[in-house]
């Protein structure tokens, strides 16, 4: 790559206007320094230019200690701005540097986006970079949901009957109507069928009696994908949209569907229409297409993961209802739990199942019933495309009465052996995905971890077991020309977040929420939480994109990311993400007195 192109693709020069970039490129100077050359001296004369490593290595030293090694694409000479040289700057390997003279560099700083690169912290840097790198989003996911409204609001008075409501709907050709009671309520096509006709209620029935309230509504500025997520979460098809606190109209799932051929709502509809386990077969493929569409439209991986989790939950509810249909009603309430990435709402592609079954009574009847029940649901999940868990963490094996589960959870917290720590790392990221049994008592057991220093210390050791691939002097250490983003980043960070969450007594399972919660609880600084969240979302995104490329090219899905496939900007962010995780691990080691064996 010639000097001009190299500079152009190096952030933040990639954000400059063509005109400003010409100024920068036109003023560039090139210098060569052999290894050993001292370029700048701490507290000495400031640099006369912003300097960019083109080839070779530069080491920064403080009091004779190497603090950092800069490589291709890294900048130094910030003293050109600050006037103070912080570290000695010494050439480690023959250096070819590009230089932007002081006056030109200062003039470029009038570009706000460009300037921010040199002034802000990691989190902000990642955020602004992802805005720049993200492909333009199509209107359909980021547009405000209010833009989909194409009909004025249709209402009936509070005293209206179901017949009044049905007539209004017919006349206005809409599928729902707002009943103006206090609070307002909504009646839909479906309600007239299921709650009026099927219940043999008469035409004089008051509309408000069969209406749903309180309304589940959102402001009209909510992005479309947020509205989808909300509707999936609550299983609703009609969304009242608010403007200035007032209902301005109803957006239906059909309205949203019209904007998306492989969208989440279409997949949701398909799930809802499934009539038996054989229909579940195409689910994995539908989901992959949906993820691909959303990914292509630039939605971050963490948002996609949430949508996927809600869809998986919808599928699970179907499987549960079929099991109940075949086996008869359950003898007692139960809860179907999901773990791991599913439990953390971080699943994007269908990965191994991690699930378990908890039921209220410890009777023989219940045991027999739920054995068959678990078989049926797990089989359905396999048919839908969730491979069985190789470790056997599935409801077919992990099932039992609540009392047994409480004992089990309590055992893990009280006697943290290696096995218990492994179990905690899996089971403590749990979420109820089906059933009506209240499982908050399990959280009470997990809550005991808070006061249990040995447990937290063991869990911490597990969280620092995998280290980010950062070698000596803050350089990426590559393996087969790349890095493992799961082992080196995602898993350690999930582990770190888990420790903080359990220490803070949080019930959140998603890594992002746990980190936010840890900051609110004062365990870590807000800055650290922001940095880690950005790092996490960046890594998830990188992995998902990599996996989709692998899918398209029919390669095996993995977590290995080739460094040469990344842009200069992505390499930098990758390194910074790993560095943030390493800092967090150090914090963990220090705080929970982890002694490394």
């Amino acid at each position: 790559m010639d000097p001009r192109s190299f500079l152009r693709q190096t952030p933040p020069f990639d954000v400059l206007s063509d005109e400003d970039f010409e100024t920068a490129a036109g003023a560039m100077e090139i210098a060569f320094h052999p290894a050993g050359t001292r370029l700048l001296t701490a507290a000495g004369k400031p640099s006369e230019a912003l300097r960019l490593v083109r080839k070779g290595l530069v080491r920064l030293e403080k009091g004779g200690e190497v603090t950092q090694v800069l490589e291709e694409g890294d900048f130094f000479g910030f003293s050109v701005l600050t006037g103070t040289v912080e570290t000695d700057v010494i050439v480690e390997e023959d250096l070819l540097e590009y230089r932007i003279p002081s006056t030109v560099f200062r003039a470029l700083l009038s570009d706000e986006l460009f300037a921010r690169f040199f002034t802000k912290r990691l989190a902000e840097r990642l955020r602004s970079a992802s805005v720049v790198n993200m492909p333009l989003l199509p209107a359909d996911v980021l547009a405000p949901v209010g833009s989909l409204l194409d009909h004025r609001l249709v209402t009936v008075e509070c005293g209206a009957t179901v017949v009044d409501a049905a007539r209004r709907m017919r006349d206005e050709r809409v599928s729902s109507v707002i009943v103006l009671c206090d609070p307002p309520a909504i009646v839909t096509d479906r309600d007239l069928r299921n709650r009026v006709l099927a219940e043999a209620l008469g035409p004089d029935t008051l509309a408000c009696r069969v209406a749903s309230s309180p309304l589940r509504s959102l402001p009209d500025s909510t992005p479309v994908f947020g509205a989808m997520q909300f509707m999936l979460e609550h299983g609703i098809h009609h969304l009242p949209v608010l403007r200035g606190g007032q209902i301005s109209g109803i957006v239906t799932s059909t309205d949203l569907l019209r904007h998306q051929s492989h969208g989440p709502l279409l997949t949701f509809k398909k799930v809802e229409k499934m009539r038996g386990p054989s229909a579940a077969k195409g689910y994995g493929g539908d989901l992959a297409r949906m993820v691909s569409t959303l990914l292509g439209s630039g939605l971050p991986a963490s948002h996609i993961a949430r949508l996927v989790s809600h869809l998986n939950d919808a599928l699970l509810k179907k499987l549960v209802s079929w099991a109940e249909r075949d086996l008869g009603p359950p003898p007692c309430p139960f809860a179907f739990l999901v773990f791991g990435s599913e439990g953390r709402l971080e699943q994007t592609l269908l990965t191994d199942q991690d699930n378990a079954l908890v039921y209220r009574d410890s009777s023989a009847d219940a045991s027999t019933y739920f054995s068959a029940f678990a078989e049926s649901v797990v089989k359905g999940l396999v048919a839908a495309g969730f491979p069985p868990c190789p470790g056997g963490y599935m409801a077919t094996k992990w099932k039992g009465p609540l009392s047994e589960w409480i004992e089990r959870f309590s055992g893990w917290v009280q006697a943290p052996q290696a096995e218990a720590v492994l179990a905690a790392a899996i089971f403590f990221d749990f979420r109820k995905a089906g059933g009506s049994l209240d499982v908050s008592s399990l959280w009470d057991e997990i809550g005991q971890a808070r006061k249990n220093a040995p447990f937290l210390s063991h869990l911490s050791r597990a969280a620092v077991g995998f280290r980010p691939p950062i070698g000596a002097f803050r350089r990426l250490s590559l393996e087969n020309g790349g890095v493992d983003v799961k082992k080196g980043g995602i898993t350690p960070l999930q582990g770190v977040a888990r420790v903080f969450a359990l220490d803070a007594g949080l019930r959140a399972t998603s890594t992002v929420e746990r980190l936010r919660g840890a900051a609110s609880a004062g365990l870590i600084s807000r800055e650290m939480a922001d940095d880690l969240i950005e790092a996490f979302e960046f890594l998830l995104d990188l992995r998902l994109r990599n996996q989709f490329e692998a899918l398209t090219e029919k390669r095996e899905l993995g977590n290995h990311i080739k460094i040469e496939a990344l842009s200069q900007a992505e390499r930098r962010h990758l390194k910074e993400a790993f560095l943030a995780i390493r800092d967090a691990q150090r914090e963990i080691v220090h705080r929970y007195h982890v002694t490394t064996a």
Binding site: D2, P3, E29, I30, A31, K55
Partner: protein, 204 residues
């Protein structure tokens, strides 16, 4: 010894000298038959390659262009590319002015010098042979120094691309006169440092 140091002192320090790196793209290798198609120049001033002073121009060949087998493959310029460019006569003053400012820096000097000499005389300019630094000669010198120091006894890589690789310089796309002039200037900086040369006389 006194005499020798006196001799060195007479030659200016390399940082105080301006080196104009120059590269020509031509139709072929014979100055009598082939035309110059483009010129790229960039100075090394106080040890820095200064792109702000870079000079580059395409050149419209006078008379019949000589297109030979493979020639377009070598310089990547089609007749249409140079059709609207200034002719050699109108750009020579700019080239001359720069050459005369300091030392001329070339990679494999004889060929480009042949073209320059002919271009000057054909257009009524006096050709005063400038002080020339040839990176190919420096490569030979570096190789013999390496042998002397007990390194590998191999012939140096003389091709600009291969030589740059040996010095761990970045890969630049070929066939552009200015990029090649920059590439030559960078190789010069690396060789200057390797040879430990401090005076211009140690480089010419």
């Amino acid at each position: 010894m006194k005499g020798l140091s006196h001799f060195f002192r007479r030659s200016p320090a390399w940082e105080d000298t301006v080196f104009w790196s120059l590269d020509l793209e031509t139709e072929g290798l014979d100055p009598r038959r082939h035309h110059i198609l483009s010129v790229g120049m960039v100075p090394v001033r106080r040890g820095l390659i200064r792109l702000s002073e870079a000079y580059a121009s395409l050149v419209r060949p006078s008379g019949q262009p000589t297109v030979e087998n493979g020639a377009i493959g070598a310089h990547h310029l089609r007749p249409a590319d140079t059709a609207d460019a200034p002719d050699l006569a109108s750009i020579l003053p700019a080239v001359k002015e720069r050459i005369e400012e300091g030392v001329l820096l070339l990679h494999h000097a004889p060929i480009d010098l042949g073209f320059l000499r002919r271009a000057f005389s054909e257009n009524g300019h006096e050709w005063k042979k400038p002080l020339v630094v040839d990176t190919v000669r420096l490569l030979y010198r570096s190789a013999s120094q390496e042998r002397f120091l007990g390194g590998q006894n191999t012939d140096p890589e003389l091709n600009l691309f291969a030589a740059r690789q040996k010095f761990h310089l970045p890969l630049y796309p070929p066939h552009d006169a200015l990029t090649d002039a920059i590439a030559t200037a960078e190789l010069f900086l690396a060789l200057r440092s390797r040879l430990g040369a401090t005076r211009v006389s140690q480089l010419t």
